[in-house]
């Protein structure tokens, strides 16, 4: 008698739903335990909608995010256009450099900006970096290269026929811009803008370090201040609700607009271009690239130069390095353990695919400070302060890394399922044997890549450690922050260099690991 193998999946593979259910429960548990206390306390009295402080902070949050987004896009457009239509030695290097600011831990970049534009910096007095100007400057430093890369990836996706057609039809540069480049860019611009706006809204490190008191603070940082400095959990919860509302709207919009997390592209395929040959166009492009480089190279260079000069590996640096690496490894492992069964289930059932991406997006919507507030309230309520701080930091880093890990993993797992499921079913290969013999060898590249991505996210994070850390428990970013706080800028630069090198090593490893195909 014909027997069905358990639940029929698309490929007739038997798969126990238990691991995916556990993974889903863990995510839901982490997020709900953050959300419910915030909702409960926030609604009970923390959220006073007419509150002047709340309005001011929310207004400042949106103002700085809006300014940062607009300026990032304005800076990115000419740079992306120039890089798209020029071939010159060093172009590939510049495009790779554009990925640098976003990979760099925020605290390192902030230190670089202070070194350049601060009171004792190379360009002291150009900007007032403690306050709105500094915050926007730092956000442009991070996000204009991201925007430039995203716009560039749209431009290089224009089919080569369009360039040939425009050459044959005698388009001038103005026509090429109006008929080809701008339509292609503008279709993607809302998604790029919302992503940057979201990143700036949820940005913590930049505002914590460059914000000037209550006058220039964002919701994310105000939550931290309410929680850790003023010990006013009700106000923290109220702020958290507002932050959650803003971020939900932004994530929803960004998903509607089809905005994706920026992919790691090589931009190797380049179409032959026939436009932009006038002297003026060449000069303009040259200027745009120089301007772009001058925004983001000096702060990095400052950290490197100052760091090399003041490199000292004391006991505190060694301990913080070990703590950072340990937390990175643990949180990356946790992220993978959660994402693996979800990706497996999502590869085979439509319902799971939707459920999994929903859970992961929930992790994206939930700003770290909101999550922390909830956990803080919960632990406080049941006075179980015995949960060790490192565990909280690991859990939070893992949640923050979920979107990266899941997107890197899901497509590859689905690919493996498509390729191997029928064959494995017919040969009776399943369970541990399948994992060791089929999936692990086939997926070790995406697995390694997503592990490294998660480790990079956790390595540079200052949010979790600031919210849960203590005197006895520090990571590298927290140590840099403390050194900056006591005006030991040179020492901070040395530590920042170590953190930056560690991060870059992981980034390069991730790039190599994912690029090699064997």
């Amino acid at each position: 008698m014909a027997q069905r193998h358990g639940e029929m999946t698309g490929f007739g593979v038997r798969q126990s739903p238990a691991p995916s259910l556990v993974a889903l429960t863990v995510i839901a548990g982490l997020i709900i335990s953050g959300f419910l206390p915030v909702l409960f306390i926030g609604m009970k009295g923390g959220l006073v909608l007419g509150d002047r402080y709340l309005l001011h902070v929310a207004g400042f949050t949106l103002l700085q995010a809006g300014l940062s987004t607009v300026l990032s896009l304005i800076a990115a457009l000419p740079v992306a256009r120039a890089l798209a239509r020029r071939r010159f030695p060093g172009r590939g290097t510049i495009i790779r450099l554009l990925a640098l600011p976003l990979a760099l831990p925020a605290i390192v970049a902030v230190l670089g900006i202070v070194e350049i534009y601060g009171n004792r910096g190379w360009f002291a007095g150009v900007f007032d970096i403690y306050g709105l100007q500094g915050i926007v400057l730092a956000h442009v430093f991070f996000n204009f290269p991201l925007a430039a890369r995203m716009i560039l990836s749209r431009l290089v996706a224009i089919p080569p026929e369009s360039w040939r057609l425009s050459a044959q039809l005698g388009f001038r540069d103005r026509d090429v811009w109006r008929r080809i480049e701008w339509p292609q860019i503008s279709a993607g611009l809302p998604a790029i803008a919302i992503l940057i706006f979201l990143l700036c809204t949820a940005s913590f490190t930049v505002v914590l370090t460059l914000g000037g008191g209550p006058g220039a603070t964002t919701i994310e940082v105000a939550i931290y201040q309410a929680l850790r400095l003023d010990f006013d959990p009700a106000r923290a919860a109220g702020l958290a609700l507002v932050q959650l509302a803003i971020c939900s709207i932004l994530v929803f919009l960004s998903l509607r607009l089809g905005g994706n997390m920026p992919a790691w592209q090589s931009f190797r395929m380049v179409s032959m271009r026939y436009d932009g040959i006038s002297r003026l166009a060449r000069f303009g492009d040259f200027l745009a690239i120089i301007m772009g480089l001058s925004i983001f190279i000096p702060p990095i260079a400052a950290v490197v130069l100052s760091g090399v000069a003041h490199l000292e590996v004391g006991a505190d640096v060694a301990v913080a390095t070990i703590a950072s690496l340990a937390i990175g490894v643990c949180s990356a492992t946790l992220s993978l353990l959660i994402c693996w069964p979800l990706a497996q289930a999502a590869a085979r059932r439509r319902a799971w695919s939707r459920l999994s991406s929903l859970a992961v997006v929930a992790g994206l919507i939930m700003p770290p400070a909101v999550l922390a507030t909830g956990w803080f309230l919960l632990l406080n309520r049941f006075s179980v302060f015995s949960v060790p701080a490192p565990l909280l930091v690991i859990a939070m880093s893992a949640v923050m890394a979920l979107p990266f890990v899941y997107t890197a993993l899901a497509a590859a797992v689905a690919d493996s399922a498509r390729q191997h499921d029928r064959l494995c079913a017919s040969l009776g290969i399943s369970g541990v044997v399948r994992f060791l013999r089929i999936d692990l060898p086939y997926l070790r590249r995406p697995l390694g890549f997503s592990f490294l991505m998660a480790a990079i996210v956790s390595l540079g994070d200052l949010t979790a450690i600031t919210l849960f850390g203590s005197q006895g428990f520090t990571t590298l970013p927290a140590l840099i922050y403390r050194q900056m706080g006591s005006y030991r800028m040179e020492t901070a630069a040395g530590t920042a260099l170590i953190l930056a090198l560690l991060t870059l090593a992981l980034v390069m490893l991730a790039g190599r690991w994912s690029a090699r195909n064997d």
């Binding site: 026929e161 057609l165 050459a167 044959q168 026509d175």
Partner: protein, 235 residues
């Protein structure tokens, strides 16, 4: 009308060398295996690629140093012949003036061309709202308003079914007659050549190994490489 004399070009690892004489108002089908250099041949004539040496003459005029827009040539690609955000009519009119600020006469010309290819009713649609065959008709209409004596087509109907392909070839031949065009068309289908072309050329390994009137071309099947390429194909 078109004459290539020892035109040399390197593409990746292949050294190409083309010599070709195309009489006025000929309809030449170019066949041959993938990667043989068929598309490169058209690109050289259109000016998208620049030869290392040799000369290209169109209508007796040397094309050395002449940019694509100044050559008496229109080109139709396999796809991406249209700008997705412009409607069909604008996609045709852009062949007259990139700024699309047309005079009444030019507007009339555009409408005539749209009627000629049977797209007048669909003229305000966007390319995404019409079929692949209709998008190729837009490209033909644009070539009509541009009114250049040479029309190059790079596998223009490869994505279309047999009957639609015949319709398009019929349209091409009518247009050719009206405008006295010289046509070069790259195709993967020998039957397209049989159906529409006055001459057929065979390209392999960056060389033009044969070119003769179509009837003769398929009867003699010379040289042996052509016989190998066609195998036991019969029209």
């Amino acid at each position: 009308m078109i004459s290539l004399d020892n035109v040399a070009f390197d593409y990746e690892d292949m050294a190409m060398r083309f010599s070709l004489e195309v009489p006025k108002e000929a309809f030449v089908a170019i066949i041959g295996p993938s990667g043989a250099g068929k598309s490169t041949l058209l690109s050289l004539i259109a000016g998208f690629d620049i030869p290392l040496s040799g000369s290209i003459l169109i209508g007796g005029r040397d094309m050395a140093g002449v940019p694509p827009s100044a050559r008496p040539v229109s080109m139709i690609f396999q796809d991406n012949n249209v700008f997705a955000h412009l409607d069909l009519r604008q996609n045709v009119a852009i062949g007259l003036l990139p700024s699309l600020k047309l005079t009444a006469a030019e507007n009339g010309e555009t409408d005539d061309a749209m009627r000629r290819v049977g797209l007048y009713e669909l003229r305000y649609r966007k390319p995404g709202e019409v079929s692949g065959g209709e998008r190729q008709r837009v490209a033909i209409a644009r070539a009509l308003v541009r009114d250049k004596p040479v029309l190059l087509l790079d596998e223009p109907f490869a994505a279309l079914g047999p009957s639609l392909r015949r319709d398009m070839l019929d349209l091409l031949r009518e247009v050719q007659k009206d405008k006295q065009l010289t046509i070069l068309m790259v195709s993967h289908q020998p039957e397209d050549a049989r159906y529409a072309a006055s001459h057929t050329a065979f390209v392999e390994q960056g060389r033009i190994l044969a070119m003769s009137p179509t009837e003769e071309f398929f009867q003699t099947k010379n040289p042996p490489e052509l016989r190998d390429y066609l195998g036991d194909w019969r029209s």
